[in-house]
């Protein structure tokens, strides 16, 4: 066991995947010698060679198109898109192609592709380098969208994603890359791709969140605990599909729920969670469903970013509103 950051845990997981399966390939912009602009693939080209870990020309649709062709010829691609904002350049590969191939080939062919990309905000980057575009992708049938909220899950989930035979969009949170450390077991272990995790047990209110907002929610749970209010925090981990069982079980116990996301509010993950609860568990509730999300503007430039991203204060205020309903 070693204490690793979120980013090192991902590197470690990628290392396990490359070591286990000679058909795995890592490629993208600057992932080779430079080890990625964040150093997520640091050392992997040295260890596995340029045939397995390599730089491509600068083109995102090229990178994901390459992944599809490589998968068609028996490879297991792990392409990196340098920032999630650049996936817009490759939307056809994601939504028009790789997610549909299994269906097109009557289930006989699969696309075991794991697309890794950093997302989220709060790190004062240039425009289009911070974004929460998950709302676009969760509506893509045939594409899994997952995101770990801590280093332990990051390693276990990247290994599960690579082993999975469907395309997975693996979202890595920019702010978490270097701000968290966990004890990480050596070698291989997996964390399932489609189950939510109860990050903290509680009985009075359920807070459903994912990625960096899980930490914000845990802060709120700590604070409420001092007043003997017991909040349960659920980390979705998988944004598509959504593990509704874990959510319903919690709501049945607490009767109150707040759904949190860093992304803009319109449609998307929080809206889906809210709708599922309304559809299947509304009788368990004794207050309206609370929502915390970013406002429906474009993602702001650096200067106002931190006022815009929902934080623990916003979650606490909403939780109190629902608790006092």
């Amino acid at each position: 066991m070693a204490k690793l950051t979120y980013i090192k845990a991902i590197t470690d997981g990628l290392d396990v995947c490359l070591g286990e399966d000679p058909k795995t390939l890592i490629f993208g912009e600057d992932v080779g010698k430079n080890g990625g602009v964040f150093r997520t693939t640091q050392g992997l080209q040295d260890k596995y060679g340029e045939d397995r870990v390599f730089d491509t020309p600068l083109a995102e649709s090229g990178i994901l198109g390459l992944a599809i062709g490589l998968a068609a010829t028996g490879w297991r691609p792990l392409p990196e898109i340098q920032f999630m904002g650049f996936t817009f350049e490759a939307v056809d590969s994601l939504g028009g192609q790789m997610s549909r191939e299994r269906f097109r080939f009557s289930g006989k062919r699969s696309m075991p592709i794991t697309v890794r990309t950093p997302f989220g905000g709060g790190t004062h980057t240039a425009e289009m380098h911070a974004d929460n575009l998950e709302n676009y992708y969760v509506g893509t049938p045939g594409l899994r969208v997952v995101t770990p909220a801590n280093p332990y899950d990051a390693k276990g989930m990247i290994i599960s994603a690579v082993e999975n035979n469907d395309p997975v969009l693996f979202l890595e949170n920019l702010k978490l890359y270097r701000s968290m450390k966990d004890e990480i077991p050596e070698g291989k272990y997996t964390v399932p791709l489609d189950t939510a995790k109860v990050a903290r047990e509680g009985t009075d209110i359920t807070i459903v969140a994912y990625s960096a907002e899980v930490n914000e929610s845990l802060k709120v749970a700590d604070k409420l605990a001092k007043e003997n209010i017991s909040a349960e925090v659920i980390d979705l981990r998988s944004l598509s599909p959504i593990d509704t069982d874990t959510i319903f079980k919690s709501v049945e116990k607490t009767h109150k729920v707040v759904v949190v996301q860093e992304a803009q509010k319109m449609a998307g993950v929080g809206a889906q969670v809210t709708a599922e609860i309304a559809e299947h568990a509304i009788m368990d509730l004794d207050a309206p469903i609370g929502r915390v999300a970013a406002p429906d503007s474009v993602y702001p430039w650096a200067q106002v970013e931190n006022d815009w991203i929902p934080n623990a204060d916003d979650i606490e205020a909403k939780a109190r509103e629902i608790l006092n309903y």
Binding site: E29, D30, G32, K33, N34, G35, V37, D55, P57, L58, A59, S61, G62, G85, F86, F88, E89, H124, T125, A126, E127, M128, H129, K265, M266, P295, D296, S297, V298, P300, W301, A302, Q303, V304, E305, D307, W308
Partner: protein
């Protein structure tokens, strides 16, 4: 007996000769400051020569002062332009006010030469969208999404043509890496298809972050990528400000005269890191690789040419540099005195008329921001 394949068409020789028209890089003053094209050199007046030097000194001073501000934490994202002064100043000087500029993130100096203020440049870097209030300037904001500006420039060129504007073009910049994007080809090809007045600039500075030019394509030059769309092109010594200017000016004249688009590739070098955001070139290139480019420096070259004519002194250059830097400090003060943006400002510029959801968001943030 079956015939050996590969005899009817000699692909090997096609491959070996297809770059022939691009073998010679266009140049007027070489790296040792020798004038290699006297006839063209003589078309420049002394004032013009001094003006080009001043612009390059201005750009280098801007770079140095910006790096200072950056180290002091007074700026956000910044892409250094050190080494690319001839390429940027030589090219932008060829355009007129009525030409529409689509810059990339490394083209703040061209944007400023084309009418934006230094303060606007700083505000953009600080992440304050007020910096993008360009009024009536024919400038677009510095593009972050590599390639997007190329297709948009084709659209502006078509718009200019449809407007019936007689002496105007759109012009656009990307780097060597940018030429790998699908958008690059689409932009060039669309402008070609519509025979629209666009000038496509490719600043080949050798690197796309850590990826060297040779990994982008096996094509010998980037200029020749235009050929496939029926667009004429040229590769220029981008460390030679005069050659860059002449090539770009003639490209502009050709396009403005209704002959369709042109592409110009400038051979230059990114002396420093990719950006202010923690790139470390020592991870992927050596000092030995860098040296010939420092030796080919555009300012060294012009210093010598102008010095020989008695038009320039180091003393004069140092004074100018100080003057420029003082003015940049004033611009920085101005940027710092510009009110920071609020979330409410952002929400108000999402749609022309705020939607019901946005109105609710505005109310929520107004309450928060007034606290």
């Amino acid at each position: 007996m079956a015939k050996k394949t590969g005899q009817a068409i000699d692909f090997a020789s096609i491959k070996a000769t297809m770059s022939d028209p691009y073998k010679k890089t266009f140049q007027i003053v070489d790296k040792d400051a020798k004038i290699v094209n006297q006839e063209l050199f003589d078309t420049f007046s002394d004032d013009q020569l001094v003006d080009f030097m001043k612009k390059m000194v201005w750009e280098r001073a801007l770079h140095e002062q910006t790096m200072n501000f950056s180290r002091q934490g007074r700026l956000g994202f910044y892409a250094p332009t050190y080494g690319e002064e001839a390429s940027e100043m030589g090219s932008v000087s060829a355009f007129k006010d009525q030409d529409f500029l689509f810059p990339a993130y490394r083209d703040l100096p061209e944007l400023i030469q084309h009418g934006a203020s230094v303060t606007q440049g700083f505000l953009w870097s600080k992440g304050n969208a007020v910096g993008d209030d360009y009024g009536d300037q024919r400038n677009w904001f510095p593009q972050i999404i590599i390639g997007a500006q190329y297709v948009e420039a084709a659209g502006a060129a078509l718009g200019i043509k449809k407007n019936g504007e007689k002496d105007a073009v759109s012009f656009v910049y990307t780097g060597d890496g940018g030429t790998s994007q699908g958008d690059f080809y689409e932009g060039v090809n669309f402008a070609s298809s519509f025979q629209a007045p666009a000038v496509f600039m490719v600043q080949n500075n050798g690197w796309a972050i850590s990826v060297p030019r040779k990994k982008q394509t096996a094509a010998e030059t980037l200029a020749q990528k235009a050929v496939a769309s029926g667009v004429p092109s040229i590769q220029v010594d981008g460390m030679d400000v005069l050659a860059t200017y002449i090539a770009t000016k003639e490209a502009r004249d050709f396009a403005a005269a209704g002959n369709g688009p042109v592409l110009v590739e400038t051979l230059t070098y990114r002396y420093g890191a990719h950006s202010s955001a923690g790139d470390d070139p020592s991870r992927y290139r050596t000092k030995e690789e860098e040296k010939p480019w420092f030796d080919a420096d555009p300012l060294i070259r012009m210093r010598k040419v102008l010095g020989d004519k008695g038009l320039w002194s180091q003393d004069q250059e140092d004074k100018l540099t100080e003057e420029y830097k003082d003015s940049f400090k004033k611009s920085m003060k101005e940027a710092e005195n510009t009110p920071t943006q609020s979330v409410v400002d952002m929400l108000k510029t999402t749609f022309e008329e705020p939607t019901p959801q946005i109105k609710a968001d505005i109310a929520r943030f107004e309450a928060k921001e007034s606290k």
